[in-house]
Symmetry: C2
Subunit: 659 residues, 2 copies
């Protein structure tokens, strides 16, 4: 059951689709501190708190403080409070309490989950205006289902989007892309998509193509489709200020950009240099921007990723000028340490400055709203623009779309990736821990940049990361300009990479089936053990194992030089140690603790008792499997544990028609 | 056996005390690439590589690249290649090879331990000049013993330095310190020392006291001694440029500071603002600087920590002026993204700039040497200045001294702490992994800043960190200005903190005995399991358990919200689950894998079969135990496992006389 409580006068977020009448009186079990703009709840010693989507630290968020304040920050360190998204849903799995709490407000919220005081859960607001939804049901998954009912069904991508996607910032020309695709084909490694980072555009202008480096783009898209490869271009939030650039001129003409106090357009800078930001909170602007995607749809593009939409700001023109003025005071002076750090502070204050978010305004369908009051829904509304446009432009066809910044409600329109992570072993673990938290909030189509975006990858890290990524709906390898090359064929163990990626393709019938069952059933695809084995004290505490759909559990290795790992089995399970879809051994293990030896190229799957794992017999394919379609065309095999193949209810469809 | 091979003409480092004739010919088993200035060795699949002291990642260094290039960098991330120290000793524990390799050169060295190619260990030099010592003996500990024989016996601190030390940047006055000590006494938490960070000095000038904030310092030192507390002031490398400041004036008069090409003193900036750096490679300058410590010794001080001695540089005057000149080019211009990042780059290039290390020179006993050629021994020579002075000024008495920057050889004069870490769970694990690597290189007196220096601590993180720190020779709690207060009495669970710190004191007779046996026997105090159970494939791979001395193993919990952890026992052991020195339970466990439940306030000790753990019965103390001396005055108790108390050979002495 869901109860709604309204505090103050919250600005609407478009997050909720099911209207509920707000109840009178206070949130039961919570203390309200109006002066402190806070709600607090007393936790028991063994209460666990899950949720908050894409945040740092463990699955159990207890012990740290998290701030919903969308931020472009690639250093996902333990100490960080804010990342790219605001997913304000928490679930308390208590000794004698179980509830979900969704805090719907577009402003800044602080979740102090036992940081200041281990026994106290405090939710503090910058502005004390919010709709609070308290969900109390029988089980964690029921609570998730209720939240989904409240906020809407999860986005469903096309089937090909479950194939492997290769990405890198630095594919500068169509030939660079061709070379990548050719090499994957030559190496017999399946790939369904190649991502185009900012370099495909003309001077980083949205909805343009650099004709010199990507000539006759439409033909190129078709050529790649011939190869079974979908090109997925990036779209950034900022629109370049440039005379003659139609998107810019239309936006200005129609007042579709955010404005400063004086009514003039905000001038900020990101990749293209000076830009204006579209006012995605303005319905007309949103419709206009959405229609702009047709420029690429018309060229045969059927997938996009929206980026820089926190929005990320390198600097605003006003602040830059101000900084230069202030710098004058330091010229020629004999700088002491304090002056120097002030001086450095000035320069470092240019990017993503909180005060800049207070310097511009939206036309929120007639109401003028200062950006910082609605900051956390900006990326959501950008991606909603795309999603709504696709429904209108391609009413029958699914389009791939995911975003970096997000807010609950965006899950109806798109997926998310976990942003610019790094090639750190600790980020493999973070990937494992973020997935179920994202699923709870409705974001089912998600995954991390496999191998890590920033810093230099190593072959062993990339291989181990596959142990997670081959089970994730969004399976992409992405890396930053000037880091070590990260395509799988760059390494000596290319055969082992090929085998694990083929395993992913063999598992697609299961992965897709479980994803769709979760999407259509308002359920989760990746679950913490605590959600299924809630009475098992040990299982409740497991932070590095996941249930993937109804049949299997994974326990990936995420430590350098490890030759295996400890795994907790809440029940008897059948270990399937995969080296390839057609090379694995099976072993039935009793419940309890086990040290499982796992070679670098081995991915462990734990099959639950009474369940089946269907997978495609790729060897039956006439030609080498190179795409998701090829895999789905193969006959199925089943690995079972005290079950019959027909016990598994498999979902399938054409994978492209909107449903 | 040790064999020496000399490449080129290495600059001496004072690291080695035992002369060995260099052999003709090439290093057996290694390939020399003169053009590439590199040595390489082919590794087998299961070869482990240990060593390199204070570096990131695991005990087994395989898979990453490490650069010896002393750097002040508080973000000890997985991707970092250089930290504060250069400890160029590695040990290969191979499938069919076992050797130690000590690379003695004061310049930059890169250890590519399977990063570029997992099978290749490459040692690359910026300058191809080095003495290479190849040590081949029967066991890892024998190899360590040989290295110690080559480089000298490890530093031995006074006994009180094994007590607890409280530190924080931000104790601004003597009263602040009194308040800290009073509160520890009031809370009945033992403490032997309080550290004085940069604030005790007058304008951050070495060998001065701020008379306003720390009036009549000598009396204050005596007053604290009355309380059983030793004050341990910090000494920085840079000497403030200030007319009338005797240290500065003596240095200039005698040409004891490093100079630029033109012969004038380098002007750099650190905490005091503009400073000169003493030329610690100049024997006269070193003697002079060492004698300066008497200013504080004469006031009763008997412990010091040397800091900022990489040397850390906030900026050099020349570069600052250059940056300002270059900035002129950006004024008023319509900065594009490239120009802005250049501009930011200029400002960020001010600190610890590699080129600045090429801009000044040492008078290395008559020979003019550019700093970058000897960069990695600068901190060593600063601390050697102190150590040699103490031998001269206090011939009979041990003085506590440890340093941030170091190089092998410095271990004869001082200990090290692991520098400015952060309040991260991953840094507890890093602490566990760095200790044995430091021990191998001779640094026995060592430890990390318990609770983490930077970022905000949490009570549970601090409590779990104690599970490591109470077993480490250097046991200090240190935190950064403007972070959350971190003294143990700041938290609700003060009783549990008290009990664990008292446990440390109860264990002092064992800790001191094992430390001294390791120091006098050229052995290690904290050992990886691989060094003792080398034939056990599982034990060889354990990265998060340590043997502490001859009797015990520790397996600390380092994960947030964990209620226990997995432990691998290479042999039957007796688990002692301590909540306090007088509150514990014992359980004999068979060898193999175990999940050990451990509450937040429980520290697990695993007693080896046939061994004893002596500990002081603090309850027999007439007054509450407040210092190491009090603990050593208590009668001993023993916990045994198939052994008799008399089987334990305990070392003890007066703890203060030099030996």
């Amino acid at each position: 059951m869901i109860r709604k409580y309204t505090i103050g006068n919250p600005i609407p977020t478009a997050s909720v689709v099911t209207r509920i009448e707000a109840e009178e009186g206070a949130l039961p079990g919570w203390t309200v501190d109006r002066a402190g703009k806070a709600l607090s709840y007393r936790m028991q010693e063994n209460d666990l708190v899950y949720g908050l989507g894409e945040t740092v630290r463990g699955m159990n968020k207890r012990g740290w403080i998290y701030t919903s304040d969308n931020t472009d920050d690639p250093f996902h360190l333990e100490e960080k409070k804010s990342l790219y998204a605001s997913q304000n849903f928490i679930m308390l799995l208590g000794e004698n309490a179980l509830f979900g709490l969704y805090v719907d407000t577009p402003g800044v919220v602080h979740f102090d989950i036992g940081f200041t005081d281990y026994s106290t859960l405090t939710i503090r607001f910058d502005d004390f205006d919010a709709d609070i939804y308290l969900i109390t049901e029988g089980t964690p998954r029921r609570i998730v289902k209720e939240l989904r009912g409240l906020t809407g069904r999860s986005y469903i991508p096309p089937k090909w989007a479950f194939g492997y996607g290769q990405s890198r910032w630095g594919y500068l020309t169509a030939d660079d892309v061709r070379k990548v695709v050719d090499t994957y084909r030559k190496e017999d490694i399946p790939v369904d998509s190649v991502y185009l980072d900012i370099d495909y555009m003309e001077k980083y202008k949205d909805f343009t193509i650099n004709e010199e480096t990507f000539p006759s783009f439409g033909d190129f898209v078709a050529e790649m489709k011939e190869q079974g490869v979908h090109l997925v271009p990036i779209i950034d939030a900022g629109v370049k200020i440039e005379e003659g650039y139609s998107v810019y001129e239309e936006g200005v003409r129609n007042k579709y950009f955010v404005t400063k106090e004086d009514g003039s357009e905000l001038v900020a800078a990101v990749w293209p240099g000076r830009v204006h930001f579209p006012d995605f909170l303005n319905t007309q602007a949103r419709k206009w921007f959405g229609r702009c995607y047709s420029f690429l749809l018309d060229k045969g593009i059927d997938g996009f990723w929206n980026d820089m939409n926190e929005p990320s700001i390198f600097f605003t023109e006003d602040r830059l000028q101000d900084v230069f003025r202030k710098m004058e005071n330091y010229r020629g002076r004999n700088l002491g340490i304090r002056e120097l750090s002030e001086f450095k502070g000035l320069v470092l204050s240019l990017a993503n400055n909180r005060d800049d978010y207070k310097s511009f305004y939206h036309n929120y369908d007639g109401v003028r709203v200062r950006h910082d009051k609605v900051h956390n829904i900006y990326g959501f509304q950008m991606t909603r623009a795309a999603g709504e446009a696709f429904e209108e432009l391609c009413p029958d066809k699914r389009i791939l779309i995911f975003s970096r910044s997000s807010y609950i409600g965006m899950h109806r329109y798109a997926g998310v990736w976990t942003g610019d992570n790094r090639s750190w072993w600790s980020h493999i673990r973070l990937n494992i821990q973020q997935m179920p938290a994202l699923n709870m909030c409705g974001f089912l189509y998600s995954g991390a940049d496999t191998g890590g975006f920033g810093a230099d990858v190593t072959e062993d890290l990339l291989m181990r990361w596959l142990g997670v990524s081959i089970f994730m709906p969004l399976f992409r390898n992405h890396s930053e300009l000037n880091t070590r090359f990260q395509e799988f064929y760059r390494f000596p163990k290319v055969r082992q990479f090929r085998d694990l990626i083929r395993l992913r393709y063999a598992l697609l019938p299961y992965i897709y089936s479980e994803f769709m069952k979760a999407a259509l059933g308002d359920d989760m695809y990746a679950l913490p053990l605590a959600f299924v084995y809630g009475d098992d004290e040990r299982a409740r505490r497991v932070e590095d194992q996941l249930l993937i759909g109804e049949s299997i559990m994974i326990a990936p290795v995420y430590e350098q030089n490890a030759v295996g790992r400890y795994v907790y089995l809440p029940e008897d399970m059948k270990l399937i140690r995969f080296r390839a879809y057609n090379d694995y051994d099976e072993e039935i293990l009793p419940d309890g603790d086990h040290f499982i030896p796992l070679k670098l190229n081995e991915a462990a799957v734990f099959l639950r008792k009474g369940h089946c794992l269907p997978f495609a017999d790729l060897s039956a394919s006439p030609d080498p499997v190179r795409s998701a379609d090829d895999a789905f065309a193969c006959p199925l095999k089943y690995i079972t544990f005290d079950a019959r193949p027909e016990d598994y209810l498999r979902y399938d469809d054409d994978g492209i028609t909107r449903i």
